[in-house]
Symmetry: C2
Subunit: 416 residues, 2 copies
C-alpha cells in the first residue's frame, strides 16, 4: 500500500507538471499528435490483439459473465473504431481559449473569461479498453494531462494502448508524462487517486454503481459522477401504442448492457389492459417483472419486489408498474430513478410539457427512445461519459465538459 501510494502520487505529480506545459501546446500540435496516435493504434494492432487475446483467455477462466468478456474483447474492427473515434475528436473545434464572456467595466477594467483546461483529469473505469483511447483523445484535445486507472481484467490491453498512444504523442509534441497509466494491480489505488487534491483536478469514474459509489465516498478531489441509469418510459393514456411498442423494444433490447437502456416501464392504468399484453407479446426474450396490477392482467407474470424499482439490470429484464396518471409517473421516476434519461410516450401536449418540466433528470424525452442519450447522438462529437449529477456538466459530456474558465482582467492601475 505504501509503495503503491508513493508510486501513484509520483505519477500524479508528473502529470501535474506536464499539464502546465500541455496547456500551452497549440491545437495544431495536439491534433497532429492525435492523428499519429490513431495511425499507430492501427499500425500496431497486432501487438494489442496479442496482449488482449491472452487477457480474454484469462478472463474466460475466471468469469462466466459473457457481458464482461464481450466488453473486454478487441478485434481489428474495434481497433479501427477506436482510431476512427480519435480522428473524429481531431475534427472537433478546439475548446481552449474560447472567449465566453467579455465586458469593459465603467472603471475601465477589461474583463474576459476564457476556457482553459482543468489540468489533470483522473479517469477510473472498468473493463472496456476503448475507454482508454477515448479518454486519452478527449483529454489531450482539451489540453488536459490524464491519469488513467482501468479495470484489472484489461490492465495489459489498456497498458499496451496507452504505451502506443504515449509514444506517438511524445514523438509529436505532447509533453512527456501527460498521459499516466496506473499499472499496479491494487484496488486501493482508486482511493489514493481520489485523495490527491493538489495534483488531480477532477475524477471521472465510468463503470458500475459500486465503482461510482466508492469514488464518491472517498474522494476529496471533485468528482463528475457518470452513468448509473435506471431509465423509465411512461406510456400515457393517449400514447400512439404502435409507436410506444416500437420505442419500448428499442429502449429495452437494442443494447441492454448500457446505461441509457430502459429498466422500468410505467403504463397508464386506463390503457394497461390493452397495452400490457402487447408488451408481453413484443418482448418474448425479456424477463418481465410486474406489480400487482400487472399480475391481475397477466396472472403468470413474475412479481416485482421493492428492489426492482431501483435496480439497473443491464440485462434483458424489465420491471413494469401501472400508474394512475402522469403525476404518479413523475413521482415514481423522481423517487426511484437515477436522474439519467426518462421518456414519456403521449399525444397529450400538456402532459408532455408537465413531464419535461417536472422530471428531474439529465435528459427528458417525449416520444423517443432513451437510448439516444449519447454524445455522438446529441451531436457533441464524442463523450467522456454521461453525467448523472448536476454540478459542472449534466448528461452527455463532450470536450467542453473537460474545461473550466479563467478570468483575465486588464487594467491601468485601477484600485478599489
Amino acid at each position: 500500500m505504501l509503495f503503491m501510494k508513493e508510486h501513484v502520487t509520483k505519477q500524479a505529480r508528473r502529470a501535474k507538471e506536464a499539464s502546465r506545459l500541455l496547456a500551452c501546446v497549440p491545437v495544431e500540435v495536439r491534433n497532429g499528435a492525435l492523428l499519429a496516435m490513431a495511425w499507430d493504434l492501427e499500425a500496431r494492432q497486432d501487438e494489442i490483439l496479442e496482449v488482449n487475446a491472452k487477457e480474454v483467455e484469462t478472463a474466460r477462466e475466471k468469469t462466466k459473465r459473457p457481458n464482461m468478456i464481450d466488453r473486454l474483447i478487441l478485434t481489428p474492427k474495434r481497433i479501427a473504431d477506436m482510431a476512427e473515434g480519435i480522428r473524429q475528436v481531431v475534427k472537433l473545434d478546439d475548446p481552449i481559449g474560447k472567449l465566453d464572456f467579455e465586458v469593459v467595466r465603467p472603471n475601465g477594467l477589461k474583463i474576459r473569461r476564457v476556457r482553459v483546461p482543468f489540468g489533470v483529469v483522473g479517469m477510473v473505469y472498468e473493463a472496456r479498453p476503448n475507454v482508454t483511447a477515448d479518454a486519452i483523445a478527449l483529454c489531450i484535445k482539451s489540453g488536459n494531462a490524464c491519469i488513467l486507472r482501468g479495470g484489472s481484467e484489461a490492465i495489459r490491453t489498456n497498458k499496451k494502448i496507452v504505451d502506443i498512444m504515449k509514444e506517438a504523442g511524445e514523438a509529436n509534441g505532447i509533453p512527456p508524462r501527460s498521459i499516466e497509466f496506473i499499472s499496479i494491480l491494487d484496488r486501493d489505488s482508486v482511493v489514493v487517486m481520489c485523495r490527491l487534491r493538489k495534483l488531480i483536478n477532477v475524477i471521472i469514474p465510468r463503470g458500475g454503481a459500486g465503482l461510482i459509489a466508492r469514488v464518491v465516498e472517498h474522494s476529496t478531489v471533485p468528482v463528475i459522477e457518470t452513468g448509473t441509469g435506471v431509465c423509465h418510459t411512461f406510456v400515457d393514456k393517449t400514447a400512439n401504442q404502435d409507436m410506444a411498442i416500437k420505442v419500448c423494444i428499442n429502449a429495452k433490447t437494442s443494447r441492454p448492457s448500457v446505461c441509457n437502456a430502459m429498466e422500468t416501464l410505467l403504463i397508464h392504468k386506463d390503457i394497461a389492459e390493452e397495452f400490457l399484453p402487447k408488451i408481453v407479446a413484443a418482448m418474448p426474450m425479456v424477463e418481465l417483472r410486474g406489480d400487482e396490477a400487472c399480475q391481475q392482467i397477466i396472472p403468470d407474470m413474475k412479481a416485482a419486489v421493492d428492489d426492482d424499482w431501483t435496480t439497473e439490470y443491464n440485462d434483458l429484464i424489465l420491471s413494469i408498474k401501472i400508474v394512475d396518471d402522469v403525476d404518479a409517473a413523475i413521482e415514481h421516476i423522481n423517487q426511484y430513478g437515477t436522474a439519467h434519461s426518462d421518456a414519456i410516450i403521449t399525444e397529450d401536449k400538456a402532459n408532455a410539457t408537465k413531464f419535461e418540466q417536472m422530471i428531474d433528470s439529465s435528459t427528458v424525452y417525449v416520444n423517443a427512445s432513451t437510448r439516444f442519450t449519447d454524445g455522438f447522438e446529441f451531436g457533441l462529437g464524442a463523450e467522456i461519459g454521461i453525467s448523472t449529477q448536476k454540478m459542472h456538466a449534466r448528461g452527455p459530456m463532450g470536450l467542453e465538459a473537460l474545461t473550466t474558465t479563467k478570468y483575465l482582467v486588464d487594467g491601468d492601475g485601477q484600485i478599489r
Copy 2:
C-alpha cells in the same frame, strides 16, 4: 447527535419536496416575494437589531477578535444594505428556463438544453449575518430551495433574518419549507448535511480555510469550494512603480480581512533595492515579513518563514519575496497560491501575456488590484461566493452558478 441527525435530515427532506414546487414558480412570483422580504427586513429591523445586540454582547465576552465582532454586528445601515442587495437580485435576469443549446438532429429529434435550478442548495457559513440574506435571495431567485447553517455566534440573528424572510416569502407565493435554517447548536450538523446526497444537490461553504477543509473532507454531496485566498502581486522590472505602490496599498490595506486581499508581494530582483524601501514607507501600518534578500535591503525587516507563503493572514501582514524574473514569480504563485486572484504589475506586454496564460488562478490581473474579484465589481450583480476550484464555476459566482441544465428531447417515435 442522533436527534440532530434526524432533525437535519427531516429539514433537508422538506426542502427537497419544496424544491420541486419552487422550480415551477414563475419569476414574477419569485421577484415579488423577494421584494416583500426586503421590505420586511427593513420594516422589522428593530426585532433584528435587538437579537443582534444581545449576540454581540455575548460574543464580546467570549472573544477578543475585533474582526469577528465587526462581522457579527448589525446596524440600520447594514440592514438597509441587505435589503438593497435583495432588490438588486430582483433586477437581475431570470436564469431559469434559458435555452443555451438547441439542435435538430438528422433523424428529426429536437434537442434543447435549458437552465434549471439545482434543487436544494446547502450553505455553510460563518459569522456574517448578511450572508443569510444574500444566500436566500440568490437561491430563491434561481428557483432553489436552501438549507442554511450559519456560525454559532450569529445563530439568533440569522434565525431572526430567516424567519422574517420565510414569512414574507410564504405570504407571497414561495412554497413553505423552501428555506430551512439549522438552529441546533452542534458542530456536527455540518457533517450531517454533507452526507445527505439524495436530498441536497450542492454544498457551498463560505468561511475560513478550516471550515472549507472540513466540508471537503466529509462531503459526499458535491461541493463548490469558495474563498480561501492567498493572493499575490508581482511587481515586474518594467512596472510603473507609482502605479505598483498604489495598487499594492489598495490590495493589502483597503480591506485586509477579505479573501481577495493581497497576502504576498513578489518583487523583481532588478528593482528590489529601489522598490522595497518605497513599500516600507508606504505601508507603515502593515507588518512586513521578508525573505533573506529583503532583509539584505532592509536589515530590520522581520523574517518570513515557510508557513508565511501559504498563510492567508486576513490581517495587516504582508509577506515579501524577491524573485529572479516572471518565470520565478509564476512558479512561486502556482506552488503556494490558492488559485484565487493574482496580479502582475508590468509594462512588458510579453510578460503580461505569459503571466495570464501560465498562472493557474480563477482571476489573473494585469496592472490592477486583486481586490476587484467580486460579483458586483465584475458586473454579475451579486455573488453567492468566489469559487476557488475548477468544477462548475470559477471565480465570482452569480445566479447562473446556482443553476444546472437539462436536455429536453422531442421526437415522433425515433428509435436507435
